[in-house]
């Protein structure tokens, strides 16, 4: 049960920063396991998804089984076991957004990207997802690109949003040909 380093411990998939964040986090709670859900999300932010290695490492660091980690992780809709695009586009289509044209916005993203629900573009830059209410009902229709909100959208604003993120990717120097 001890999370202390054993001799046979495999190499960490966490960056030093993430490992430090984990160590600080578990200290805060009365119970170590309370860090599980935040850590799953933070690890996913860094690695891109919950790979087998991530699940194993979190289980080891918290001191629970991999099965327990998976049991919890499969419950939460933001957690995924497959890679998404570098920019995961989440279009809210719940009632308030639907009334303001969310499905038209969603369709436009589909056309522009050429991918369907939960699809990833060939260059790995974008993925598209239809999501439930994201708490931006009064500024509908709204989307999130990773954690960034865009609100009061219209289909015609879609190309501009996409080129904005393509530009960001280029700046980071890891863009495939756009």
């Amino acid at each position: 049960m001890s999370p202390k380093k054993a001799k046979s411990e495999p190499a960490s998939v966490f960056s030093p920063a993430l490992a430090a964040r984990f160590d600080a986090l578990v200290q805060k709670y009365p119970v170590r396991r309370s860090a599980l859900i935040p850590m799953l999300l933070y690890a996913q932010d860094e690695v891109g998804y919950l790979s087998d290695a991530v699940v194993a490492e979190i289980a080891r660091r918290i001191g629970i089984t991999e099965l327990e980690v998976r049991n919890v992780a499969t419950y939460y809709s933001m957690l995924r076991f497959k890679p998404a695009g570098e920019f995961n586009i989440q279009v809210c289509t719940n009632i308030s957004c639907m009334l303001r044209g969310a499905y038209e916005v969603y369709e436009r993203f589909r056309e522009e990207l050429g991918v369907g629900p939960n699809g990833v573009t060939a260059d790995g830059l974008f993925s598209l997802e239809e999501v439930e209410c994201i708490g931006a009902c009064c500024w509908a229709p709204a989307i999130q690109v990773n954690y960034e909100f865009h609100d009061e959208l219209k289909p015609d604003l879609v190309p501009g949003i996409l080129s904005g993120y393509r530009g960001k990717a280029k700046q980071k120097g890891k863009t495939p040909d756009a």
Binding site: P30, V31, Y76, S96, L99, R100, C137, D151
Partner: protein, 438 residues
Amino acid sequence: MPRLVSHPDEVKIVSRRFGMGATNIDRYIELGGYEAVKKCLAQGPDWIVEEMKASGLRGRGGAGFSAGMKWSFVPKQSAKPKYILVNGDESEPGTCKDHLIFLHDPHSVIEGTIVAGLAVGAKMGFIYLRGEYRYLLEIMERAVADAYDRGFLGKNIFGTENEFQIITQTGAGAYEVGEESALMESLEGKRGIPRIKPPFPAVVGLYGGPTVINNAETIATVPHIINMGGAPYAAVGTPRNGGTRLFCISGHVERRGVYELPMGYSLKKMIYDVAGGISGGRKLKAVVPGGSSTPVLLPEEIENVGMDFDQVGKAGSMLGSGGVVVIDDQTCIVEFALRTISFYAHESCGWCIPCREGTDWLKKSLTRFHAGFGTRSDIDNIQYLAENMLGRTFCPLGDAAAMPTIAFVKKFRKEFEDHLNGKPCPYAREGVPQLTVV
């Protein structure tokens, strides 16, 4: 960035500091911040609970239970540590008020949490935000760190013997975690499945200790009540419904936004005056008064309804979470019902069979029905199925899915019947893609 709105009828109490830079701790103090905690440190726990009871503040998450009463249920003596848990897992469709509180006034949440801690004798509080609110979590984390730096949190808050610690926590996407016992499960690192009650959280809650769980808006209101006094706060609202409320007006109205209005404010005025009426000069078809779980109201049903828990209840619906969703006359109610139930089918945690299976069957029936493959008996079956979910689940999610469905069928039976003539939706808006499978 969420747009702020205002209207002359607003009474800004909770939203007083919105747009004033109060995320900065110095600015917050300049605007009267942290005075409530000082007052409470001087007055003591019994006084706090009495003021809270006098305020008539009822839970802003949706259940509308008296906050002061809730606090008074926590036993004075406890072998296990007591906790304050702030529910910022805002996920009820139509609701986006906590979003603005975290964005504009994070210290009010911290201050309210400390006051709640002093009232019940807790030394630790948790502020739980839904996973999607990462940028708001970062604002909260910053505010908590600043409060620690000033000695407002820690071993000796404000230089007294009182200890209070706050931990911010992120969820990872789950509507059900907004239910109080599921929220505790999630915070303990588990699946967000509700607990059987009793025991209630006030007696056995987080980590087995007595726990007060309040909605973020409820907690953000607390410092204002302490500052202005319980009775004056209550006087702003209607009898048994103290104070103001953040109403989130969305859908087919001209000026959508979050408005702080006195409890009991006319729903009709809210739609036609405050929010500027129906978009594009169209007509009102229906309104969902308190988030997607609340039964829909017809235009003739809102004539004399004031927006407080009792009046909306009498009109046949619920005040819920304050999410007012306005629907115009070009909307297909079957489609709206389908989108609503699809949400609950997605979010059901799967523990109770009537909810897990019921939401899924309703979704399938409504999908087929909306696509033009329904039969006459489907209409009654949909209502019958929903009625048999009522009261048969451990948490309110089953009811939350069933109640609006029943209301849609009962109040819009003709629209359902009109879908029987073999064509896909006769109410489809022109040029809008048909919602077939969600």
